[in-house]
Symmetry: C2
Subunit: 458 residues, 2 copies
């Protein structure tokens, strides 16, 4: 709870007008923690504290705040103060800010920014959402292959403060990206060595129009600190840094989880989303699934006579439906995640089906055996809700057989639907529990009624 103490401390010092301690406190705290603490203060105190910040940390603190706190701050800053912050922010953060703010605030921001910054922001805003261009920053270090290591280091010393990373440098020729060199190799190499000999010509790069998910995946795969993004002509236009990649990975995972739980994904944190908005995210899927669940009802209606003739059958419907649904979800979630991580690709479909069917057979046998024992002990002998007669045993047989067949179908559907979706370039996450459950419900009932009418001769 250190953050809480910090915001309380700040508030106290503002109240006591002890600006010396306040400034010292703000100076020695990590900007990320300052941003968090400021967000908990009332508007006036937040503004007072923000004005106490060193010039070079102010923009960092500002970038770390949530949009609503940023908007409050902007409204209380003078144009001059705003200009300093905007020009000092990384261009990708400034572009994100412009995207989040209401129109009147945006025009103030753009008016405050230097012409150069304004141009860069506008360029970034032109890239499609979820593209590499939308998350990259133009604040990278660019070198020439004719430079020596000493010249390169001198260049980094000059421009390094304004670059989001100096640890990977990009070698360009007429703006075309031709090589990548790490600060580590510059630091270790001889000062007179030419960059051309140090740089890697076989670098990983992406196009600005590529999906941002691909950028995150490449950064993860190759353990990069930054990934260069080029335009269609191979000209370097920006870099994606590892911290942005982590954010993308987390956002995409959240999106996957939401889709898997039958929710339309949202980019806002839970507590910042309104009730109506949450309702809009959830209701279409509930409606769709409710309508498909009525097919299950129609199957039951079709077998009303059989159920009326042997009422004991009804009691097993929820267990069969739930167990089928759970078995299917296990397979679908496993496969969806494996597809997302690249552990499984559509060409593995036969291996996957073979494995799932064998697992399903084992699970089916185990569950059927457990179920048989349970029905005999609990339902027949303890509660006597099912007769301990040949007829009763036929019911048990029907239930156990249905269980095994349902699990086979459930795991088969659970593993093939996500792979099929992937092969069709759809999002596999849609084929998660709710859809599988609905499909498996129908199948389990059809199997159940077919088997029980046959066995019990209803």
């Amino acid at each position: 709870m250190e953050e809480k103490t910090l915001s309380e401390l700040l508030s106290e010092k503002v109240g006591e007008k002890d600006f010396k301690t306040l400034r010292a406190l703000l100076h020695e705290t990590n900007p990320v923690d300052v941003a968090e603490a400021l967000a908990e203060l009332p508007e006036r105190e937040m503004t007072v504290c923000f004005r106490m910040l060193d010039k070079d940390t102010a923009s960092e603190v500002f970038s770390g705040m949530e949009p609503d706190a940023q908007e409050l701050l902007i409204r209380s800053l003078s144009d001059k103060e705003l200009k300093e912050i905007v020009d000092d922010m990384w261009t990708d953060d400034a572009a994100d800010l412009v995207e989040e703010m209401p129109a009147n605030v945006v025009s103030r921001i753009l008016a405050a920014a230097s012409p150069e910054t304004r141009k860069s922001i506008n360029e970034l805003l032109r890239y499609p959402e979820d593209s590499v261009g939308s998350i990259m920053t133009p604040d990278y270090v660019s070198l020439k292959e004719t430079m020596t290591v000493d010249e390169a280091l001198a260049h980094i010393r000059r421009v390094g403060l304004d670059k989001e990373t100096v640890y990977t440098c990009y070698v360009t020729d007429a703006r075309k990206l031709i090589g990548v060199v790490s600060a580590r190799s510059l630091l270790i190499a001889d000062g007179s060595a030419p960059i051309a000999g140090l740089m890697h010509r076989n670098f990983v790069s992406l196009n600005t129009d590529d999906d941002r998910e691909v950028a995150a995946a490449e950064i993860k795969k190759y353990g990069l600190i930054a990934l260069p993004a080029v335009d269609k002509e191979g000209r370097l236009v920006g870099i994606v840094t590892v911290d942005d990649a982590i954010e993308v990975l987390e956002e995409e995972t959240t999106e996957d989880m939401e889709i898997m739980a039958a929710i339309s994904p949202s980019e806002k944190p839970y507590l910042k989303t309104g009730v109506l908005e949450t309702w809009k995210q959830r209701i279409p899927w509930l409606l769709l699934l409710m309508v498909s669940a009525t097919f299950t009802g129609m199957i039951i209606s079709g077998f009303e006579e059989a159920l009326a003739a042997c009422t004991a059958l009804t009691a097993f419907i929820p267990m069969l439906m739930d167990t089928g649904g759970n078995s299917g979800s296990q397979s679908s979630v496993t496969i969806i995640r494996a597809l997302a991580l690249g552990d499984v690709t559509p060409k593995d479909v036969l291996t996957v089906v073979g494995k799932e069917l064998r697992v399903a057979a084992l699970c089916g046998l185990t569950l059927a055996a457990a179920n048989f024992v349970k029905i005999v002990l609990v339902e027949m002998l303890l509660f006597k809700s099912l007769d301990f007669t040949p007829q009763g045993f036929l019911v048990v047989t029907a239930v156990c057989l249905t269980l095994m067949i349902t699990i086979l179908f459930a795991k088969l559907i659970g593993c093939t639907l996500p792979i099929a979706a992937k092969a069709l370039k759809l999002d596999p996450a849609v084929m998660a529990s709710p859809f599988i459950t609905t499909a498996v419900d129908a199948i389990s009932l059809i199997v159940y009624f077919f088997i029980s009418t046959q066995i019990l001769k209803l």
Copy 2:
């Protein structure tokens, strides 16, 4: 499919004994891609290609391979070759290797390693699983505060090649961590400036016994490239780098998803897990959930008479159960993810409940209305499976009322159970769909039978 071409190309060149092209090909390809391509080759070709690698990339390629390929390679390497690779690997990767290999291979690895490496590996292996110590590496750059920038840069030049990162350097005094300084500030600062004036004394650090999830979360939060880990006396013993943090984040997410789908988590990729192992991950939960689902069956048995008196009621059971389950899953998954991301904490419980109940009321009304229209149009007028009579309308009323109440309960349970789990220091992910579905099934049936017996006077 570039990787596939690469492994085919390699195989072709091995066949042609065109070692010059082979060596060039291996040299110009990213080690991560080489590792991937080698894994697809038959053992003999893999060994031939591996021996062609430059000394300094061999260990990098080796680290990037899967354990089964690593084992094959080790078995075909001489002790001298093995020694070179092990001594060249990052210590954390070497420790991981030792953990994965069978005993006879482990003793060869440890025998091959230099005494120093062996000691470091053994120290790392002593940290508990999932601790910061288990993922850290001792290969960091350590500086003294009395050094000047130039002295520090000279030190980095000397040791930099053997350090996992040189971009964050750690300032120690009698092994105690007293400050952190970035390579960026060293590069930008004046050569004669003392380190004491450049370093941050307020750094983020963790204890080796802390949870590795915390390390990943801090690296994400503060945008770090590496995080220092200290022992109980505050002595620096290792660093966790951002690439390891990404891996931890991904693994923890996979674990969460598995638990949410009622699967015991596994660390192995799907295709590497055997059928029996997968069965063991899945069957305990299926058994548990099957047993709890039988309570639902007991509720139905208790109302057999009412169902026999009005058989139309049975057909709506699956729709009510499924819609309740889906509504509950939406809430539970949303809250579980928000808890994992830190967007929601247990103290937000009242806000969350208030919001979920309002969303539930809206969803309930919408679904009840849609359901009413659907039953009248489809069941009553089209299929005539329900009578268009006052009695029929009483059934519809009972179904719609149940739907609304079930959704309220489902969303209430769905949002409170994960928060309760978190408050009790349990894993919120356990409180996901399968458990919610089972609980909501029982509730929806009790509500359904209570309301319909009252309304229909059964």
